[in-house]
């Protein structure tokens, strides 16, 4: 991949699509939004898709005989196709969820339910026994760690993990001894929301297959920034969120290989996911409906579909190339300021434009406050990855993260503001 930025003209056109980017802050400062790793801004096409749905075809889907309901259903299922094709999945392999977290919990609870005998013989492959192992990594977001801890607590399984090296890269070399015949699940991130390191998925999938473990990919940070083809990656499950990929809040997706979804027992139950319900017992619909209980986030799914289409139109190669160039500029900016230390790779190979750092002697929250005062929005704290921070001996970092709409000028403002941080707190005077 070449690290070619969008041209000034292209970038201006992109930015014009995002109404929030025109906002000014306290004291009239222009906004420099470097918190896309937490949540992205949304282009007009996404907002319009939601509005158009509400103003033109809002109705309950998969239920009505009337025209609005038909139109709503069509728009909703069209969005599923848009999202599926964006990540190289079949349409029946995409389950709508509230967010990525909900997708991971869905898989973990389905395994719990299978362990309790739900889903019968077909679901036995998801059942865990005491002593079975679930392997995660030290780089995981809490969303891809805590649900597995809880699953382990409910079933008697044990959580083990692959470590992180000093550069913030996953210790792929540990797979051979951490992932064993006892491993039933290997859950790992495609890209860290802290270090920005992108995982080489192939050895994970290969090792999991060798021992017969299920792979679960946290694609929250990869899908918005890189071309992702889930079939080509060969993972069993994957999750991602709409709000991080230019889409609305309140929607995400769980990908599951068709034969797995077909065998998996439901988690949330209720309307629209059943076949026959009596007071005594219930039979369930085929996937993906089996996992979509109750009235879905229809407008949001349609918005997420529009976001996927928008990114596809820009071209994920172009997006990734633009962001690779931004990553280099961000790394350059932090390297230019003394007493700043980066958590994660300092080269641009296989990394996102997400840079977390500490400023010696200044707490991350205070760093963020000074940047905020210059109009620069960064995230501060542990970014829902306490173990990874502990691995590097810090409690909190500041994190600058870019997206397709980020400019070099913005990174220059960030660099300038960062330069003044230590002096403000009385250091280096």
């Amino acid at each position: 991949m070449t690290e070619t930025m969008l041209s000034a003209g292209e970038l201006a056109a992109v930015r014009a699509d995002f109404p929030l980017l025109a906002r000014t802050l306290r004291d009239g400062k222009p906004l420099v939004y470097l918190d896309s790793g937490a949540t992205s801004q949304k282009p007009d096409v996404v907002l319009d898709a939601e509005q158009d749905f509400y103003a033109q075809r809002n109705a309950a889907v998969h239920r009505g005989a009337h025209q609005l309901a038909e139109e709503a259903t069509e728009a909703f299922e069209h969005a599923r196709e848009q999202v599926a094709s964006f990540v190289g999945a079949d349409v029946g392999e995409v389950v709508w969820t509230t967010n990525a977290t909900a997708g991971l919990n869905l898989v973990a609870y389905a395994m719990s339910n299978a362990t309790a005998g739900r889903g019968g013989e077909a679901a036995r492959r998801f059942a865990l026994a005491p002593g079975d192992e679930i392997v995660v990594t030290e780089a995981e977001h809490h969303a891809n760690l805590v649900p597995w801890q809880e699953l382990a607590a409910r079933t008697g399984a044990v959580v083990r993990w692959v470590g992180v090296d000093d550069d913030g890269r996953l210790r792929t070399d540990e797979l051979a001894h951490v992932v064993t015949d006892r491993t039933r699940v290997l859950a790992f991130t495609h890209a860290s929301n802290v270090t920005g390191a992108v995982t080489d998925v192939a050895p994970f999938v290969a090792r999991a297959r060798a021992v017969g473990a299920l792979t679960v990919l946290d694609a929250c940070q990869s899908v918005p920034h890189l071309p992702v083809d889930l079939h080509a990656l060969g993972v069993d499950f994957a999750v991602f969120s709409g709000h991080k990929m230019l889409g609305p809040t309140g929607v995400g997706a769980l990908y599951g290989r068709r034969e797995l979804l077909e065998a998996m027992p439901p988690v949330a139950t209720g309307g629209s996911m059943v076949e026959v319900v009596t007071m005594q017992s219930t039979t369930y619909a085929p996937p993906p409906q089996r996992f979509e209980a109750g009235t879905q986030m229809v407008a949001q799914a349609i918005g997420m579909g529009a976001a996927a289409a928008y990114l596809a139109e820009l071209g994920m190669d172009a997006v990734a190339a633009h962001e690779a160039a931004l990553a280099a500029e961000l790394l350059d900016a932090v390297a230019s300021v003394p007493h700043v230390r980066v958590l994660g790779p300092t080269d641009t190979r296989d990394r996102l434009a997400t840079v977390s750092f500490v400023v010696d002697g200044v707490h991350a929250h205070d760093v963020g406050q000074v940047l905020d005062d210059a109009g620069v929005a960064v995230r501060v704290g542990h970014h829902c990855a306490q173990p990874l921070h502990r691995r590097f001996g810090v409690a909190a970092t500041a994190r600058a993260s870019a997206s397709v709409y980020t400019t070099s000028q913005e990174i220059a403002v960030f660099r300038e503001a960062l330069t003044g941080v230590r002096a403000f707190f009385g250091w280096d005077r």
């Binding site: 998969h62 239920r63 009505g64 005989a65 309901a69 038909e70 259903t73 069509e74 059943v274 076949e275 026959v276 039979t283 619909a285 409906q289």
Partner: protein
Amino acid sequence: MTSSMEQLYQQVILDHARDPHGRGLVDGPADAVAGESHQVNPTCGDEVTLRVALGTRGTVPVVEGVSWEGQGCSISQASVSVLTDLVTGQDLRQVDEVAETFRALMHTRGAGLDEEREDALGDATAFTGVAKYPARIKCALLGWAALKDAIAKTGVAVPATASAAATTTEEPA
């Protein structure tokens, strides 16, 4: 009344719905191979149970009889009634072809198929208008899904079609 509505509820459909053929499960001839399937339309909860009796004509398996029971809307009842007429006496390859043709018809959004294919459908071409109403397509296909499953349950293999056989030895789906 809109014209799409008139196309949806053609007189053939209304007639079959009021007086459906093949309704009431019966046992087939003693020497027939029987298969039965129960299908639910999950969007409405309607159900059909369909039984098929297979015999042979020479070495070719044929449908000797179809009978069914169920509840559903006029589209679903008419569809299974028309199906009963269409497939009784046909060999399994023909049944498979007509079923595929009917499925294809349901994806034309009301435009219909070419004349040759429609001819094969007989009364079932009356369902062309259903394809304009996505919510009703499942109604029209409910009986066909049951037929396919019932035949599968007999364990009798559908002979490959001439064209399929030329290119592959795999059974058509």
